[in-house]
């Protein structure tokens, strides 16, 4: 074992652990003798964390997520329990939280950890650089804050609900917050679960228009999959940013990823390399997406989508 104890902050959404929260428990178990999960403002999630691999769990009562408040809580817990490593999931809030905790503890912090191994008694963390074109192995002096990318580790296939672990409730006093959230607006109401999707049909700029993008949506819907998109598509406003796949969107690992009119910028590719099977359609036969695709079809992606939709309809008839 590379280290004695790891503390894992398990982020929750609607009181349930988010995927990366559970995935990190798998990674933690591989390197640590003892894994302690921390859940804030969602005590019920503690039992889930134990079932997915944590040895024990700490719960802290708190209002809704606020980086300043949650970071203060995690900092106090790290000071009290002195883990060698703290794992935080690389969600937008997690990245904020991890950086803030590291800043307060003056701890070395690595974002978007995608791999972990032991070498010469030290933990070596792997993280992407330059839009995912280089993987960098790093070591950290002192307490480690590792912000772990979703999809990099697999969560336990079956939770062990019979597993026992101690759940400790802690109380942390929060000082007055300096940044006040005066309004929280929900613009995107659709729930888009790209991280857990088994099939993703994604489009890029090559799809050409919002109207053509309906074909991407139709194929995704026929296959029971989820719609993905590249950043230019989001900027064009063809779909909401909840659909963005890649470095600045979601990291995905479906069984089938169909890329339509996506040339394959490094920032997008780094988000889909975990896919089991990639089918790409692009009119440019030198498009980089073909280098990572199981099947690359050279041609007009809009026409190809129409053909595929017809074929799938026939298969399902």
């Amino acid at each position: 074992m590379g280290c004695k104890n790891v503390m894992v902050y398990v982020e929750t959404a609607e009181s349930k652990p988010v995927n990366v929260g559970l995935e990190m428990l798998t990674a933690a178990k591989e390197v640590a003798e003892k894994v302690t999960a921390v859940v804030i403002g969602a005590a019920d999630a503690a039992a889930t964390a134990i079932a997915y691999g944590a040895d024990d769990a700490i719960t802290v009562d708190a209002a809704e997520y606020n980086t300043e408040a949650y970071a203060a809580i995690v900092v106090e817990l790290v000071k009290k329990y002195a883990p060698e490593m703290l794992f935080v999931g690389a969600t937008p809030n997690g990245k904020d939280l991890g950086a803030r905790v590291a800043a307060k503890l003056k701890a070395g912090c690595v974002t978007d950890v995608i791999g972990m191994k032991e070498a010469d008694g030290k933990i070596v963390l792997t993280a992407p650089l330059y839009g995912g074109t280089i993987y960098s192995d790093v070591t950290v002096e002192g307490t480690v804050v590792a912000i772990i990318r979703g999809g990099a580790f697999k969560k336990a296939e079956e939770p062990d609900t019979a597993k026992e672990g101690t759940i400790t409730a802690e109380t942390v006093e929060i000082a007055d917050l300096r940044a006040k959230i005066v309004n929280s607006v929900q613009e995107i109401s659709e729930s888009v679960n790209l991280e857990e999707a088994e099939i993703i049909v994604a489009g890029g700029r090559g799809v050409g228009s919002a109207e053509n993008y309906e074909l991407v949506k139709e194929l995704a819907s026929l296959l029971g999959g989820v719609v993905g998109a590249t950043r230019p598509v989001i900027e064009e406003g063809w779909v909401s940013r909840a659909h963005q796949v890649g470095q600045s969107g979601k990291i995905v690992a479906p069984k089938l990823y169909i890329a339509c009119g996506i040339s394959g910028a490094a920032q997008h590719i780094s988000g889909i390399t975990g896919s089991d099977y990639i089918v790409a359609i692009n009119k440019d036969e030198d498009a980089p997406i073909f280098e990572i695709s199981n099947i690359g079809i050279v041609g007009n992606c809009v026409d190809a989508l129409k053909i595929m939709i017809e074929e799938v309809k026939k298969m399902q008839a």
């Binding site: 960098s136 192995d137 929280s184 910028a265 099947i295 690359g296 053909i307």
Partner: protein
């Protein structure tokens, strides 16, 4: 109002970086050094804020080598009026934030000012850690608001529009503060010939800040990601034929 924008010079992120086998390090020479995209958004937001409230100065600072002056020059042509480059042995986020915090104190002393707002990009396109802005705020002991898409001056300080997964938050915070900026709805402005000429005349200050805290993160190895085995490329006479072949293969692979 006194505004500081922290910028980083990075390799052009539209170029795919590869390893240089001779040096066993990432070959950055193949990419033109540019201003980190998120920092250009931060500067644009700062410039728009300055235009909205008037009577403000924007200073740009960068921790980096001599050639980072080129990046600062670019910024001086699109809204900033003073620029500093900081030389420091900063190789990770903690040491970079420390270098910036020390630079802030030095600039404030040299110019006889106090910065009201410090803008940073939410992350750099090369390392993408997204930590430095937050760490700088901690070092300066001021509040921070991350992932801004808009900012407004209010009586109590600033009102920041923060992008969230489902929408946005409106966050109010007193000054001084640090903000980090993500992609807003607008694009950064381009320099004009006139603004470039004017920028060229502005001297760029060089700051000596002494020792910074020791980096905690050390790179032990870099490598290109493992290559996925190349698949099949289909380019038949007609798209119909290509698609029939592709769909057959997808059925055989049991992915359909």
């Amino acid at each position: 109002m006194e505004i500081l924008v922290c910028i980083k010079q990075v390799p052009d992120d539209s170029v795919n970086i590869k390893m240089n086998p001779a040096t066993n390090a990432p070959d950055l020479d193949i990419a033109t050094p540019i201003v980190n995209a998120f920092d250009t958004y931060a500067l644009e937001m700062a410039t728009r804020l300055k235009e909205a409230i008037g009577d403000s100065t924007i200073t740009v600072v960068s921790v980096g080598p001599d050639k980072a002056k080129d990046a600062i020059k670019t910024c001086l042509a699109v809204g900033a009026s003073k620029g500093y480059v900081v030389k420091a042995d900063a190789t990770d986020t903690i040491s970079t934030a420390d270098a910036l915090a020390k630079a802030v104190a030095k600039i404030e002393e040299a110019e006889g000012v106090k910065f009201d707002i410090i803008f940073c990009g939410k992350e750099s396109t090369d390392c993408a850690s997204g930590q430095v802005g937050t760490m700088l705020a901690e070092d300066l002991d001021v509040p921070v608001v991350t992932n801004l898409v808009d900012i407004e001056k209010i009586d109590a300080g600033i009102s920041a529009k923060q992008e969230t997964e489902e929408g946005y938050n409106i966050i109010e915070v007193a000054m001084p503060c640090v903000v980090t900026v993500t992609k807003p709805e607008y694009e950064p402005r381009y320099p004009t010939i006139k603004s470039k000429m004017a920028a060229r005349k502005i001297p760029i200050g060089e700051l000596e800040i002494g020792d910074v805290v020791a980096p905690a993160v050390t790179v032990v190895a870099n490598a290109e990601p493992p290559k996925k085995a190349a698949g099949v490329k289909i380019n038949e006479e007609t798209l119909e034929e290509s698609m029939a072949m592709a769909l057959g293969m997808m059925r055989d692979a049991k992915v359909l």
